[in-house]
């Protein structure tokens, strides 16, 4: 596993949300809500803290633009470094999730496979 696995699944989800192109904060929240079928609903505070933190780390860059309803909004976009982080983070998180899944799926008392 890569060292320095970043905090929280939130960060990797936010990065993924932007993989398909730039979005503003509200857009990221909507996308995550929709994609998880309403299972996950981000708290605004956590979301924006994550966005600013990721931008500070250089994985995102931001730009002011005009939204779909003609309002000024701040759009975020993955940087090259951000894309790299996304790939590695995805791999790490998937491996982690599979390991946990194996444990939880096993029968109690079963010897490791």
């Amino acid at each position: 596993m890569r060292e320095g696995f970043w905090q929280g699944t939130l960060d990797v989800m936010v990065l993924k949300a932007l993989a398909g192109g730039p979005r503003h904060g509200y857009g990221v929240a909507s996308w995550i809500r929709t994609t998880t079928d309403e299972a996950l609903s981000l708290e605004e505070g956590a979301l924006y803290t994550a966005l600013h933190r990721l931008e500070k780390r250089g994985w995102l860059e931001s730009e002011w633009g005009v939204s779909e309803n003609n309002r000024r909004a701040k759009y975020y976009r993955l940087t090259t470094a951000g894309r790299r982080e996304l790939t590695e983070g995805t791999r790490d998180w998937t491996a982690y999730a599979e390991a946990v899944f194996k444990v939880l799926r096993s029968e109690p008392g079963e010897a490791p496979a």
Partner: protein, 899 residues
């Protein structure tokens, strides 16, 4: 609630800071907006949607603040990076421009270097004398010198005592208001034996001295209270420099024995490097104060005597005690101690003065000149700045086409100015580096010239000098760069381009002329200063001292084996007198108990004059007594006015008692009658008849009130004083010194050390401040003259080059060569005259402020003022000469062709 404002107001999360905050607010506002719209689309009413949206946002204040903080931080970093990048590129660009035109750059660096150099050197001295404390002193602000202000008993004149009797120190040390009290006395003592004996600066100090200052030994230990008593083992602490010189820095010196005076002392430690106590004189060894009786005359009387003023006292105040309160307490103790002393000034008060002597009332004349010299150095710097500004201005004008193009292409004016300023600051800093090198190299020269009697071992604190120079250089660079950069970018772009880059040559006039005039004014001021000091020096040297020190050699004898008493010492000196009389080249010798300008003696009430109820006093005090051997007046060069002098025959205890008085005494004591034949009663002795009147002489200074002196034969002196010196008259005192020493070495017994000194060396310090002033001003004046002349020349040369077409037209139209020359010459001289007159006005004002520093010279001395202007005019004419000559040679045809 509707509308954008309402939503914005919701998100006014605290009082924001600028753009970063507003951005965060807007971002969140958008999210809120979108949420509300979504909810409304889902069927909620406005108010319901608002409530729900609010709920979702949660505790927005908290995380909103955090967001803003992060945003602001990022903003700051970005802006900083921008500034650094911009600055770096400006500097790079500036460097490139300079490299392309090295001549201008080099001349600016040289001129700036000189201007900054004199300032760096002067600052080094100023810092050492006034600002910085002597090395190795902890919290120097809390350490104070003890002075007593009082009206002197005999003369009634206000004075300051920096020396005190030992009992006064004891009183101070018992006062609770001081944290620490210490006393010290600087001496010159003989160290070593026989041929290896040398006289070294040794300071006696109480054991409290080192702890008060917070000093630690570099090797071994410093002496403590147990070493500073009568009967303790003799110990000594060596000065660091002496330890290096005499023992090669060997740490095994601890425990070594060393002879000081007649005692053998054990070395117990070495002081830290550069430690000189609270004064700036070199100290080679430190002895406990209780050794005082053994190294000098006086035994143990000094402990209780309030008549012998020989100790300097320093105190460290308690942090909670105010200086005024401490002074008041000390004053009342002081006055209480003097209550029984009849005639002692009841209003005497104690002052706790600054550690830096130069800042106190007893500052030497030389140190008082230093701040003025610093002011002058700054003036020189201003002159060099004006010069450089002109240079840069000329260069900017030459590049005006390039500048106009850049402005037209949209390069920001601010950017161009910044580049220009960066260039000049860079040059100034390079000049500063040269200046620091100059100052470092010339530091010892400066000290030798400026404050030789300060024996300053450490020299200027170069770290502070560097800081000062960097700051000054940056300021100078900003000053010189800003004006030309501002001016040149103000150019009317279109007009410049259209006219083929020629522009308006008349518009230069104001600024450039102004700068030239300023340089002329500064030069005049410096020349006037130089003239006034030179005249002061001449006046000072012209003062008739009464005696003739140029022809006298002083001899001092130090006895072997402790002070043998006045009678024995006199016998030794008499023997020396006889021996030296036989040396070829010696015109006369005399033994004296008082050496004018070195010491004075009075016996107060022990002098009575029958018929005169109270002997008058002068502003200089009472009558001073000299006990001398025969032939004294001839030897020392005092003129006899009436009667006769004192001869060999008079100099016997069995001979009739005689005396000689000086003119002032004769006039004051016997205004109606005749001094000759009068009777002087000294102590219990019978009448000493006045047999002669001699001319007055100066007692200790060039400018002093008249004093009364009387002379008695050595054998008839009222107290058993030892002689002060043997005086030897010769046409070449320094030349005969070796012969004198050799003769005495051979013929004298019971003498440990023989020192000779030309008498004039004792006088030299008197003239030093004027020598200093005239030297400094002359040096600066010359520098200013050269720089200003070069400045004038370069500006005029530049202008002639610019005006070639105009001159060519004039020539073509038949103007005579002389009129072309006249144009240029008139230009140069006009500047010199205008600047010179302004300079004279400033000089007169400044001189009247500096009048106390001058000697017998009016600040408005016409000769000096006229001379200064004349010099400046002459130099200006010379500087204008070459360009004028070039102007005359302009051939009309080729001048017009260059159009």
């Amino acid at each position: 609630m509707s509308g954008f404002d309402g939503i914005r107001r919701v998100f006014r999360l605290g009082i924001g800071g600028g753009d970063a905050d507003r951005e965060v607010e807007r971002e969140l506002a958008h999210h809120f907006q979108a949420t509300m719209e979504e909810l409304r689309a889902g069927g909620m009413s406005d108010s319901e949607a608002l409530l729900e949206a609010r709920r979702r946002f949660g505790d927005e204040k908290r995380w909103g603040r955090e967001l803003k903080r992060m945003a602001r931080g990022r903003d700051r970093t970005a802006r900083l990076r921008q500034v650094v990048v911009a600055a770096a590129s400006t500097v790079r660009e500036a460097a490139r421009t300079l490299v392309r035109a090295p001549l201008v750059a080099i001349s600016v660096v040289v001129v700036m270097g000189l201007g900054l150099g004199v300032n760096a050197s002067m600052f080094g001295v100023l810092d050492g004398l006034f600002l910085a404390a002597p090395p190795h002193i902890e919290s120097p602000d809390g350490v104070k010198r003890v002075f007593v202000h009082l009206r002197r008993q005999v003369s009634g004149v206000e004075g300051i005592n920096s020396s005190h009797p030992y009992p006064d120190y004891r009183d101070l040390s018992e006062m609770a208001v001081f944290k620490d009290v210490a006393a010290y006395s600087a001496r010159e003592l003989t160290v070593g034996h026989g041929a290896a004996a040398v006289r070294l600066p040794v300071t006696l100090a109480t054991s409290t001295f080192f702890p008060l200052l917070g000093v630690q030994a570099a090797v071994g230990r410093l002496y403590g209270a147990e070493d500073d008593t009568f009967g303790s083992d003799p110990v000594v602490v060596l000065g660091h420099g002496y330890w290096q010189r005499a023992y090669g820095g060997d740490p095994a010196v601890v425990g070594e024995a060393i002879a000081v005076g007649d005692e053998t002392y054990t070395v117990i430690g070495v002081a830290p490097p550069g430690f000189t106590g609270v004064d700036r004189e070199r100290v080679d060894a430190w002895l406990p104060l209780h050794r005082a009786g053994l190294v000098e005359e006086g035994g143990t009387e000094w402990v209780d005597s309030r008549g012998w003023y020989w100790i300097q006292a320093i105190v460290r105040l308690r942090p909670d005690v105010a200086v005024e309160a401490a002074e008041a307490a000390a004053t009342s103790i002081h006055r209480a101690s003097r209550v029984e002393f009849e005639g002692y000034d009841p209003a005497a008060r104690v002052e706790l003065a600054s550690l830096q002597l130069a800042r106190t009332g007893v500052a030497s004349r030389e140190s008082r000149v230093v701040p003025w010299a610093m002011g002058v150095a700054l003036m020189v710097l201003l002159l060099t700045c004006a010069n450089v500004a002109n240079l840069l201005l000329a260069r900017a004008i030459r590049r005006r086409r390039e500048t106009a193009v850049r402005l037209a292409l949209g390069v920001g004016r601010g950017r161009l100015i910044a580049t220009g300023v960066a260039e000049s600051v860079l040059l100034a800093l390079l000049g500063g580096a040269a200046a620091v090198t100059l100052a470092w190299w010339g530091d010892s020269v400066m000290r030798g010239v400026l404050v030789p009697n300060a024996g300053w071992e450490q020299g200027a604190d170069m770290g502070r000098v560097v800081l000062f120079t960097v700051a000054l250089a940056t300021l100078a660079g900003l000053l010189t760069g800003l004006i030309p950069a501002w001016r040149s970018t103000r150019a009317d772009t279109a007009a410049t381009l259209r006219s083929g880059g020629r522009g308006n040559t008349q518009s230069r006039s104001m600024l450039r002329t102004g700068l030239l005039m300023f340089q002329a004014a500064v030069t005049v001021v410096l020349l006037v200063g130089s003239g006034l000091f030179v005249l002061s020096l001449r006046g000072a040297r012209g003062v008739d001292l009464g005696i003739d020190p140029e022809s006298v050699l002083l001899v001092h004898l130090e006895p072997e084996g402790g002070y043998p008493g006045g009678t024995a010492m006199t016998a030794i000196y008499r023997r020396a007198h006889d021996l030296v009389s036989a040396v070829p080249g010696v015109a006369g010798t005399a033994v004296t108990t008082v050496t004018p300008f070195r010491n004075s003696r009075g016996i107060g009430d022990d002098l009575r004059i029958p018929g005169v109820d109270s002997i008058p006093v002068t502003a200089s005090g009472g009558a001073y007594i000299h006990a001398v051997s025969g032939g004294y007046f001839e030897t020392v060069g005092l003129d006899l006015l009436r009667g006769r002098g004192l001869s060999r025959e008079d100099d016997a205890s069995t001979a009739p008692r005689v005396a000689v008085v000086n003119r002032t005494m004769a006039d004051l004591v016997w205004p109606d009658g005749d001094a000759l034949g009068a009777c002087l009663l000294l102590r219990d002795a019978p009448c000493a008849t006045v047999v002669g009147i001699v001319e007055n002489h100066h007692r200790f200074d060039l400018d002093e009130p008249a004093s009364m002196h009387y002379y008695v034969p050595l054998a008839q002196r009222p107290y058993d004083w030892p002689p002060s010196r043997l005086m030897v008259r010769s046409t070449a005192p320094a030349a005969i010194a070796p012969a004198v020493r050799a003769t005495l070495d051979e013929g004298l017994t019971g003498v440990r050390m023989i020192t000779t000194q030309p008498y004039r060396e004792v006088m030299d310090p008197l003239y030093r401040s004027w020598q200093l002033g005239s030297g400094l001003f002359a040096a600066f004046g010359l520098l200013a003259l050269v720089v200003a002349a070069l400045g004038l020349y370069s500006v005029l040369a530049f202008e002639v080059a610019e005006r070639r077409p105009e001159l060519g037209v004039r020539a073509a139209l038949g103007a005579r060569r002389s009129s072309l020359v006249g144009i240029v010459l008139r230009d140069g001289l006009r500047v010199a005259v205008a600047g010179g007159v302004a300079g004279v006005a400033v000089a007169v004002y400044g001189a009247s402020r500096a009048a106390p520093l001058l000697f017998d010279v009016s600040p408005r001395e016409p000769l000096v003022l006229a001379g200064a202007i004349a010099v400046v005019l002459l130099v200006a004419a010379a500087a204008s000469g070459i360009p004028a000559w070039r102007a005359a040679r302009v051939a009309p045809a080729e001048a017009l062709q260059s159009e």
